[in-house]
Amino acid sequence: MLEAIQSALSFLPDGLVTLLIILLKIFALLLPLLGAVAYLTLAERKVIGYIQIRIGPNRVGPRGLLQPIADAVKLMFKETILPTNANLFLFILAPILTIGPAMAAWAVVPFDDGLVIADIDASLLYILAMTSLGVYGIIIAGWASNSKYAFLGALRSAAQIVSYEIAMGFALVGVLLAAGSLNLGEIVMAQQGSVIQWFMWPLLPLFLIYFISGLAETNRAPFDVAEGESEIVAGFHVEYSAMTFSVFFLAEYANIILISLLTAAMFMGGWLSPFEGILPESMLTGGGLGLLLGSGIHWLLLKTAFFMFLFLWIRATYPRYRYDQIMRLGWKVFIPITIVWLMVVAAMVVGNVGPWFD
């Protein structure tokens, strides 16, 4: 399809065509992503509603399905309130600094074999670098708002994100040790064979720690002390309204989807079919049922949806951690476990321990 577009645009100069194709790819990724973000908010309210034996939003459209659209329209037409004595330049810059890295990280995410915008060599490192930039938006928002609640939220969030980034980084080191590559596509392909080959088995502690650190990195319950409605109102975005607020919201949910997708890709075999090695090869290839049972983007989306559901489930189940407990969990529990398990993984890789590393 891309070749067809390329030839149709051949009257334009070469560089411009490349630029247009890249822009097209970005739109093809971001539009479904923003749609998914919008409907994740609805899913969150519905799922938590059902868990708490309520119905959740059910007024706008059939079964409340148009609720995200109503929310978006409402947020767009609300007034953006700029606090007096706030630093206006940084106040406006903060949401942009949050959503920018959250979107940029998606550039290297593979959805299927070769289905990726930028297939770079060190894509795992790129994602880690980009997600680590998101904290600036939060800190700057807290400081520029000129509000004590916002500032406290920003400080909490900065300390928390920096702490859990270490555990998360160590978990990723384990993955790249096991896969022998920093490229996400190659990491997924290293898990080929059967369900047993998925990295969640040899890297089980790292898998759990990565996902829990992901909860902390995205400031989600039970680690949402940065928002902490019961103590500091809404934390770093207490002064934000209308679109500036919804941009923070978009970034948070885009990060949730990113973490879910990365967990699925790095530990649960990404787009690989769970029936590999169980069903005969002939059933997994070819048309019809083979398309459904064989490897493909639908498995990745299904696994991602499972982890997104876990995010919501955990939010509805666990009470918020106290701040010192969060810090203890990150520094005194997760980091030692990851370091020990890194040595175990290294020993397994060197010793060619089967069935994963032989």
Partner: protein
């Protein structure tokens, strides 16, 4: 094309590096330093050093500068106090600056650092892994220096902790390992007794 990109990034880099030392507000200075790090990472990517560039963003921008900003935001800096003695220290400052510039020019000037001395490396193939090459060199040729650096860092960590560690005498803190061992019968005693007749 590449040259244009380089000049755009280096302009931003030089301007933001200048702004770090000239802006009044320390928070803005820290943010300009972040911008300077980020743009130099972009220039490193132009040099095909993607591992170093991404590590620069990850470590310096993503962690070190966050803590920096953290501290700077909590400081209550009085600028007039800071500017006292500016004229008095100016000659010393100027002398140091002149010597540093002279040293820089001597070392990285065109006589020693020109393109003829250090030609641009030939572009590598798409499957050339920068990360793998650095790892190979680091763990074979420079293993000793690498481990030495690691030991020095550990010593620095221990020193920093030892300097800031103080035992507060009267604080209540919980020991989770004791908390999880608590049984309900340690805390609550259920007593069975006959109902007593109430006096009228």
């Amino acid at each position: 094309m590449e040259q244009t990109i380089f000049y755009i990034f280096s302009t931003v880099l030089v301007l933001s590096a200048g702004a770090v030392v000239t802006v009044r507000n320390p928070v803005f200075a820290a943010l300009f330093l972040v911008l300077a790090f980020f743009t130099s990472a972009a220039i490193w990517i132009l040099l095909e050093a993607e591992f170093l560039a991404l590590t620069l963003v990850l470590v310096y921008v993503g962690a070190v500068m966050v803590l920096f900003l953290f501290v700077v935001m909590m400081l209550d800096i009085n600028l007039t106090v800071l500017r006292e003695g500016f004229a008095r220290y100016l000659p010393v400052g100027l002398l140091v600056a002149v010597i540093m510039v002279a040293q820089l020019v001597y070392i990285v000037g065109p006589a020693r650092f020109g393109l003829d001395k250090f030609p641009a490396p030939p572009p590598r193939d798409a499957d050339y892994s920068n990360t793998r090459e650095i790892g190979l060199v680091l763990y074979t040729e420079y293993l000793f220096a690498f481990e030495l650096a690691a030991v020095i860092l550990v010593v620095a960590i221990i020193a920093a902790i030892a300097l800031t560690l103080r035992k507060r005498v009267k604080t209540n803190f919980m020991k989770p390992e004791e908390q999880v061992l608590v049984k309900s019968k340690d805390r609550v005693r259920l007593v069975k007794m006959a109902t007593e007749k109430q006096d009228d």
